[in-house]
Amino acid sequence: MTKELDNNAYLDMELLRFTTAGSVDDGKSTLIGRLLYDSKSIFIDQYEAIEASSKRKGDDYVNLALLTDGLRAEREQGITIDVAYRYYATPKRKFIIADTPGHIQYTRNMVTGASTANLALILVDARKGLLEQTQRHTFIAALLGIPHIVFCINKMDLVDYSQEVYDRIRDEIEGFTSKLDVKDIQFIPVSALIGDNVVHKSKK
């Protein structure tokens, strides 16, 4: 009987498609890696594979971005070239994540990934604030008609979790987005590398 119930619960789930966006090195792939890792959606063999290749590259931590950077050229250069899709589920929902590239010459691949999304997570480096590419991606997300946008102010650990920095970036973004037609905009301070405010609520 419980088996039957489990299956039905699974069959009743909704699907959410979301995308990441933002400038180069703002931590899009790392955020997704962190999301998958902390929600326990990474399989042992996948984790072992990225652990081994992080070690080979001489990193002293496990580089979670390698989870989505699946192409040889991406791993060699440490950048994302094309969209990668990842899948995970919570007891209530199924998720399809599109991890998109930040480089300006790969913007077309970002558009491919963003076109099917209902939610965009736009990353902003807390040290750098709103960059040209962040604005471009935000504008594209608005053009594509993505109804929900969440700005993740990332790398908060590098600015000592400063409320002042967060507020300043937030004001800057609100000034920019006031001209755009987006239904719902939210802001979250995070640290993808450490995992603060990604799956687990920050204690800072």
Partner: protein
């Protein structure tokens, strides 16, 4: 207003059926790659639904390495008869006999890589302009990068650094003469989705997926079925184990898992609890970090 919502499985099904109809609309001569594994069975099931009550408007294409599990072939032939489709077989043995490829030697020899040449030759011979496959993005990191409509040049090569934009539900199948496309209708499905769908739609699958007794041996931590095509190394011994297969490919590179699951519900529970990916048992992916990408660039599916 009446609220309208569909479950994720219905959404995935609708997406796959849309893609299959799009293939029929855009290509003249498409083939559906059919290995007898669960993914290709699900794709053919979706194709039947997409064109029902007409028959599937594609030929089914099986690339036969000659190293099959007999159960898969029995299933394949019965299935083809049931749905009344045309089956085309591309034989790797034939490619070897013709000298198109050279068989690998040694203990881990596999015909998996050789399939690519046979597949491309068969596509050229029958002038297919599109091959539909059951590959999923959650299987492997290079597959996670591929478009639904994936362009192949005249040599069958994939260029991962120069893929076409693919916006919303607009699929671009334009190509030059001699080029073809690979199309993956169940790109967005996960292993769990496939099993749930099989359960939900009561789709028949080969007996290999259910728990059974089989002679097997361990190599590099993976349980392999004992077959005539595999040479044993020293120290490897054949034992009868109770096992099942999570994925079915060539018998020389598909590992089994110890399992007692004899119904789809039990398999689903097992998949839900699994801590490794299904391709964790596939020796063909473990050859190097970019094994899949390299094979795909050459024309593998």
């Amino acid at each position: 207003m009446i609220s309208y919502s569909i479950t994720h499985l219905e959404e995935l099904e609708a997406e796959a059926i849309y893609v299959l109809r799009e293939v029929f609309a855009q290509f003249e001569n498409a083939a559906l790659l059919f290995s007898g594994g669960k993914d290709s069975i699900v794709v053919s099931h979706l194709a039947r639904k997409a064109f029902w009550p007409a028959r599937i408007p594609f030929s089914l294409l099986h690339i036969d390495t000659g190293h099959n599990f007999p159960e898969t072939l029995v299933f394949r032939d019965a299935y083809i008869k049931k749905i009344g489709a045309e089956l085309i077989i591309g034989s790797v043995q034939e490619s070897i006999d013709k000298g198109r490829v050279v068989e690998e030697k040694g203990y881990n020899a596999s015909r998996n890589v050789l399939q690519t040449v046979t597949l491309l030759d068969t596509i050229e011979k029958y002038k297919f302009d599109c091959a539909i496959g059951g590959a999923r993005r959650d299987e492997e990191k290079a597959r996670a990068k591929e478009r639904f409509f994936s362009h192949r040049d005249e040599f069958g090569q994939w260029d991962p650094k120069n893929q076409r934009p693919e916006l919303w539900n607009i699929f671009n199948g334009r190509k030059h003469h001699g080029e073809h496309f690979r199309v993956f209708p169940i790109s967005n499905w996960t292993e769990m989705d496939v099993w749930q769908y099989i359960y939900h739609e009561k789709i028949e699958i080969p007996s290999l997926y259910y728990s059974h007794q089989r002679e097997s041996f361990k190599r590099d931590g993976v349980i392999m079925a004992a077959t005539d095509f595999m040479e044993l190394k020293e120290g490897e011994e054949i034992k009868v184990r109770t096992l099942r297969f999570r994925t079915i490919g060539d018998a020389t590179c598909t590992g089994a898992t110890i399992s007692k699951a004899i119904t789809i519900e039990e398999i689903i529970q097992e998949v839900a609890a699994a801590r490794t990916t299904e391709r964790g048992t596939r020796a063909d992916d473990k050859r190097s970090e970019a094994a899949m990408e390299d094979r795909k660039k050459e024309g593998y599916f």
